[in-house]
């Protein structure tokens, strides 16, 4: 079977999606990155292999997400694509008439404005991660409940309390303050959801023309409290697709299918065997100029595969020898 593999290595979760020749989703996997992108890519490959048919033929591999270059070297990617393009392409595949894509992930959040099937504008959170998945996780942990329970209880709120969402530090102190005054935990949680949605729309969505159909995706779209708050704030329905958490990986797979269609070259995919390879990462300080850039190095058996992190081209890319 002809298939295309998309790998999305985000800061918090790692996603793999396999599409067939007709761009139908064959299978996917979604695991926490746990700060170990290399191990998680290997883990995901290992776990997805048994879910694929015997005669699987990977015709193209693409990586996306913040660790896309690292993952690309490990698996032998045919395409390394930024997550904004990947998300837009995937959403357009399922909802061709989409005009606004809201994506909130573990560490960053984006908005993508689409008109007539092409991206016309996009935005990403700037210097602050307020209102992303990590913060919600942290709050659930502080309240000693799972993130699923956290989301469920938000829906039981009758009179949500007002929480300052401008900054997570303020939000947290507000939450503690309200909790110590005796407000119901459900009302505090939903109040937080509303605050995060407001913060998202005021920051990332600033100056963007948000028109329906609106598609909401990324890990945070699992959170029904956020979905409800988003619909209330926007005053319109928000679509959450069935595989919203792996849209980046699906988009990468779609893009590599599109890219490979025009070329006669075979895939550079190194095979599922890479999950057994022992990769070694290290870093050193380049002393070539006063910048002293931190160069990260990926190697196998003492042989350097790739280096990056410099401000100039001295160490960038794969070493030729």
């Amino acid at each position: 079977m002809e298939t295309y593999l998309g790998i999305d290595v985000g800061s918090v979760t790692t996603k793999l999606a396999v599409l067939d020749g007709n761009d139908e989703l064959v299978t996917y996997i979604y695991l926490p990155t746990q700060g170990k992108p290399i191990e998680m890519v290997q883990q995901c490959l290992k776990q997805i292999k048994p879910q694929l048919p015997e005669d699987v033929n990977i015709r193209g591999v693409a990586t996306t997400g913040s660790a896309r270059y690292l993952a690309g070297v490990i698996v032998g990617a045919d395409l390394v694509k930024n997550e904004i393009t990947s998300h837009a392409v995937a959403t357009l595949q399922y909802v061709p008439q989409v005009q606004t894509i809201i994506e909130i992930g573990g560490q960053d959040s984006k908005i993508i404005i689409v008109r007539d099937g092409v991206v016309t504008d996009f935005g990403m959170n700037t210097v602050c991660a307020a209102g992303t998945g990590s913060f919600l996780d942290h709050q659930a942990l502080r309240l000693n409940m799972s993130i699923e329970e956290f989301a469920r209880r938000a829906l039981d709120s009758n009179t949500p309390v007002r929480i300052a969402g401008r900054c997570t530090v303020f939000a947290e102190s507000d939450m503690v303050h309200k909790q110590q005054m005796g407000h119901r935990i459900e009302d505090i949680i939903y109040g937080l959801c509303q605050a995060l949605v407001r913060n998202y729309l005021n920051n990332v969505g600033l100056g963007k023309e948000i028109k329906p159909p609106i598609v909401f995706q990324g890990g945070v779209a699992f959170n029904q409290g956020i979905v409800k708050a988003l619909q209330e704030e926007l005053g319109t329905e928000v679509i959450v697709l069935p595989h919203h958490e792996v849209m980046g990986a699906i988009g990468a797979a779609l893009l590599v299918h599109e890219g490979m269609a025009g070329s006669n070259n075979g895939s550079q995919f190194k095979g599922f065997g890479v999950s057994e390879v022992k990769y070694h990462t290290s870093s050193f300080e380049c002393k070539a100029c006063p910048n002293h850039c931190e160069i990260a190095q990926l190697s196998v058996g003492g042989q350097a595969l790739a280096r990056w992190g410099g401000r100039c081209d001295l160490w960038e890319g794969s070493p030729t020898s």
Binding site: S66, K81, N82, E83, I84, T85, D116, G117, V118, V119, T120, D121, F122, M124, T126, V127, G207, E209, C289, P290, N291, H292, C293, E294, G309, R311, C312, D313
Partner: protein, 335 residues
């Protein structure tokens, strides 16, 4: 020979040939700090409160780098170069601020440039500066005329031949600017044209902008910047968009933005730093204009002290994808 230190930061990119000519005509030697490095940025940042803007931190790093290398530090206070339009407060107080936070600096030569006070005061200020080198008002006059001519030549080099300030400075001084060069030269810019708007100290400081111009050129795009436009083009575009300008050097942002949005480039990228008041307002004007015109893709990019360039690269990649996919769609529709 008296050595005058000029920090390679902030207004250096606008006025260096002028300043250099002035001091050299008066018999002084000019020393410029090397291009920004992480060490310089950190040393500058360590002298001020965290809220100080990135370009000022960079500037102070350059001053620190010149301590011990020169007899005087030249830090002008450029208050106003057009009537009733003033500069940002950080630039107004730059000599005083530097004096306060870098007490070990050699004596600071400062000069108040404020055209609102009239010609007489301006000439007086120039004379006061020149008097440190010569008692002859005639010699100061000669030096300032030569400096002005050098400035006009510099601007013309950029607007007529499409050179960036570092390239123009290199052309004038005949010595290559110490910048990393690609051995194979730049690839052909065959994918389109991107205009960068923003202050020169952001566009040409390769350390704080992660070699943005180089990155775009490597991606096969031709890069245009505000300096490649004439003062008249910038001024008239600013007037069209905001009426009367309110800040000095606003034309670099608003005027260039308006001009390039209407000129048929493929995309305009606005570069600003986090926490810059004037820029955050001005860039928003350009963004609104872009949203209204719809024809040209626009993105604003905020630079800060992040040491990893991932965030900037992701946005740039997405921006170029947006442009190329849009073009492809237009081509499909036309067929």
């Amino acid at each position: 020979m008296t050595k005058i230190g000029i920090p390679r930061a902030l207004l250096y990119y606008q006025y260096y040939p002028m300043w250099k000519t002035f001091f050299e005509e008066l018999g002084a030697e000019v020393v410029v700090s090397p291009p920004t490095t992480q060490v310089m940025l950190s040393s500058g940042a360590s002298r001020v409160v965290a809220d100080t803007c990135l370009p000022v931190k960079v500037f102070l790093g350059h001053v620190l780098c010149l301590v011990g290398e020169c007899d005087f530090m030249f830090i002008p206070a450029i208050r106003s170069v057009k009537r009733k339009i003033y500069n940002c407060s950080k630039l107004l107080g730059l000599p005083d601020m530097t004096k306060a936070v870098i007490p070990e600096s050699p004596p600071i030569l400062d000069i108040d440039i404020d055209v609102n006070k009239g010609r007489r005061d301006l000439y007086q200020a120039i004379y006061q500066l020149g008097r440190r080198f010569t008692w002859s008002p005639f010699k100061v006059r000669q030096a300032s005329l030569a400096a002005w001519q050098a400035h006009l030549n510099y601007q013309q080099l950029m607007s007529r031949y499409g050179l960036t300030p570092p390239q123009a400075i290199e052309r004038i001084s005949g010595t290559p600017e110490a910048e990393p060069k690609t051995p194979s030269g730049n690839p052909t810019p065959n994918l389109g044209t991107i205009a960068l708007i923003g202050h020169p100290y952001l566009l040409y400081d390769e350390h704080i902008n992660y070699r943005l111009v180089h990155w775009l050129e490597q991606a096969h795009y031709k890069v245009l910047t505000p300096e490649m436009l004439t003062a008249e083009e910038l001024e008239s575009a600013t007037a069209r968009l905001v009426g009367r300008a309110r800040w000095t050097y606003e034309d670099d942002v608003v005027g260039a933005g308006e001009h390039y949005l209407e000129s048929g480039v493929d995309g305009v990228i606005g570069i600003m730093t986090f926490g810059c008041g004037p820029d955050s307002l001005m860039m928003d004007m350009v963004r609104r204009r872009a949203a209204k015109l719809r024809a040209t893709a626009f993105m604003s990019l905020t630079l800060e002290e992040h040491t990893a360039k991932t965030g900037v690269v992701t946005r740039l990649e997405a921006f170029l994808d947006m442009i190329s996919r849009r073009k492809r769609r237009q081509a499909e529709v036309c067929v």
